[in-house]
């Protein structure tokens, strides 16, 4: 389990208690982060990258638990579309996660893990915590905020709630509101975790962890990240290490074996309670609701901010139609906005994968 075996993370303590959308506040918040490149003298070249649901701050460096390379190395680095030879890139682990930032596995005032006593958080709370981190780092205005999926939600939330903090907003494969279908898939995952006897009402730290439940949650979610065509092309109905069906419930099909592997390996690096809290935050996300029911109102104060939105034609999790609603709201406040639907075969995960057109758009927009 990550919380027990995790290495030490680079982090900052926020000096004041963090107010939360729930009305509660959280004292002693720590935010873990990584940086790439050099901050320039006038502190104007910082880019904040927001990570997705199960992402982390290791955007362009080796993951300390899995040993895998950074999750967006194709996009962030020297000479890459987000060029760390020119920009100072910051990526922070979100509040509620489990890679060094304060979350349900962190100790409460009594020294025991919060577990289910951790307050329910929102996307705006995550962003607020990261703005406080910027305060600690002495960075007032960002060149850009960038994010895909839940990272895109944070980018939009940042524009709506902290418009003075960034000049550019790049939101990829995301939405301004979680739909009933989005919430439904998350609920399947949460129920899988909570149905695992090892969940123990959330108080599993120091004993068996609900790996089976978390694994099923990951499997269900993983399907939503891929396109049907992508799955068909990758696996079809091919069998796994056998010539005939077993007439049993082993992983006969390659797609089953693949999903099981995705689920199990996920439990090595992620905390089940973090998964509950972060999916809840995504489900609560509705940018229009936060601003009087009208999405355009969310962007009133951001009409000088430059926006770039990108969707993918095979993404059925956060669709082009979802993103067009954001574009329409931005047009209504006459904000400078670019939008393009790119063609890519990989579904929602396209934003992480080899899509050269995305590289060109990101590079052009970031400048």
């Amino acid at each position: 389990m990550a919380p027990n075996t995790a290495p030490s993370f680079r982090k900052k303590a926020l000096p004041d208690p963090l107010p939360l959308d729930s009305g509660r506040e959280l004292a002693g918040v720590e935010i873990a982060f990584e940086t790439y490149g050099e901050l320039n003298v006038d502190r104007s070249n910082a880019i904040l990258v927001f990570h997705a649901l199960t992402g982390d701050q290791f955007v362009a460096s080796e993951h300390p638990v899995t040993g895998k390379q950074g999750w967006w190395e194709r996009m962030v680095g020297p000479g890459k579309p987000i060029d760390t030879a020119r920009y100072y890139v910051i990526c922070a682990n979100v509040l509620g996660s489990c890679m060094g930032s304060t979350g349900p596995a962190s100790p409460d005032a009594d020294g025991k893990p919060y577990a289910k006593q951790f307050p329910v958080i929102t996307i705006r709370d995550m962003v607020r915590a990261q703005m406080r981190l910027l305060d600690v780092l002495g960075i007032e205005t960002l060149h850009a905020v960038v994010g895909g999926s839940m990272g895109g939600m944070q980018a939009l939330s940042c524009a709506a709630n902290f418009p003075e903090r960034t000049n550019r907003v790049l939101a990829i494969a995301t939405t301004a509101r979680h739909s009933a279908q989005n919430i439904a898939f998350h609920e399947v995952g949460r129920q899988a975790i909570m149905a695992d006897p090892d969940w123990q009402g959330g108080a599993y730290y120091g004993s068996n962890t609900p790996d089976k439940g978390l694994s099923v949650a990951r499997m269900a979610a993983h399907i939503t990240y891929l396109s049907e065509a992508g799955l068909t092309e990758k696996f079809g109905r091919r069998l796994q290490d056998r010539d005939e069906k077993s007439f049993g419930f082993d992983a006969d099909f390659q797609v089953e074996s693949y999903l099981r592997h995705q689920g199990i390996s996920f439990t090595d690096r992620f905390d089940a309670n973090s998964y509950l809290y972060i999916t809840r935050a995504m489900d609560y996300f509705d940018l229009a609701e936060e601003h009087g029911g009208r999405l355009a109102n969310a962007f009133r104060a951001a009409s000088d901010t430059r926006f770039c939105l990108v969707s993918f034609d095979t993404d059925w999790l956060y669709t082009t139609a979802d993103m067009r609603e954001i574009v329409h709201a931005l047009n209504a406040v006459a904000a400078p906005v670019s939008f393009v639907e790119l063609s890519a075969p990989y579904g929602h995960d396209s934003f992480l994968l080899d899509v050269p057109a995305l590289d060109r758009v990101v590079k052009g927009f970031i400048g």
């Binding site: 430059r306 067009r324 047009n331 406040v333 006459a334 400078p336 393009v340 060109r360």
Partner: protein, 196 residues
């Protein structure tokens, strides 16, 4: 001005410095880029072809992939000083609606379009009895995106009907500007500057 098409170069020359411009059907953003660097305008674009949008965004322009036939309704009244519709009117589902929208979101509008009453067109139709395929309209009837062909005269009639003011107009043939006399015969392309 650069390598812009003559109708675009004319529009570029007419747009005042530092204004807010919406270019509808902006393609890869050639005109927007020219206006932004040459005149310091705040330029936005709408383009339906994703590959063109990608090129425009990659050069740092604010371009939205979308269909002007629908999306123009989302822009507030008077959001732009200048709205530009170049070589797009004849492809619109309802050119009259598009014209209304153009003059709603922009205080001034530039419209350019190919003139179907150009004399070569008239002769090709009269003598050949077939939809003309000529230099300035080189695509056959079944493949063309131009679903509402019009003439200079048609356009003037529509403007009169709608009470739109023609502030100026320019005409082109063979890649050069020509005078306005008998333009409906002589012009391959026309550019109008309009206001409500």
């Amino acid at each position: 001005m650069s390598n812009l098409r003559p109708d675009l170069a004319k529009i570029a020359a007419q747009v005042p410095d530092g204004v807010r411009v919406l270019d509808i059907g902006c393609g890869d953003g050639a005109l927007m880029a020219e206006l932004q660097t040459g005149k310091g305008v705040d330029a936005r674009g709408i383009e339906i072809d994703p590959e063109e949008v990608e090129k425009a965004v990659a050069r740092g322009l604010s371009v939205v992939q979308g269909d002007a036939n629908r999306d123009l309704a989302d822009y507030p009244d008077g959001a732009f000083d200048v709205a530009i519709l170049s070589q797009t009117l004849q492809t619109a589902e309802r050119p009259d609606w598009l014209l209304d929208q153009l003059l709603r979101v922009g205080r001034t509008a530039f419209v350019s379009f190919p003139n179907f009453a150009y004399w070569r067109m008239r002769f090709a139709l009269l003598l050949g009895g077939k939809m003309p395929v000529v230099r300035h309209l080189p695509v056959s009837w079944y493949a063309t995106r131009n679903i509402h062909h019009l003439t200079v005269e048609d356009f003037r009639l529509l403007l009169t009907e709608k009470g739109v003011t023609v502030e100026d107009s320019w005409y082109f043939a063979g890649g050069r500007e020509i005078g306005g006399a008998n333009a409906n015969w002589r012009a391959e392309h026309a550019v109008f500057r309009l206001s409500k």
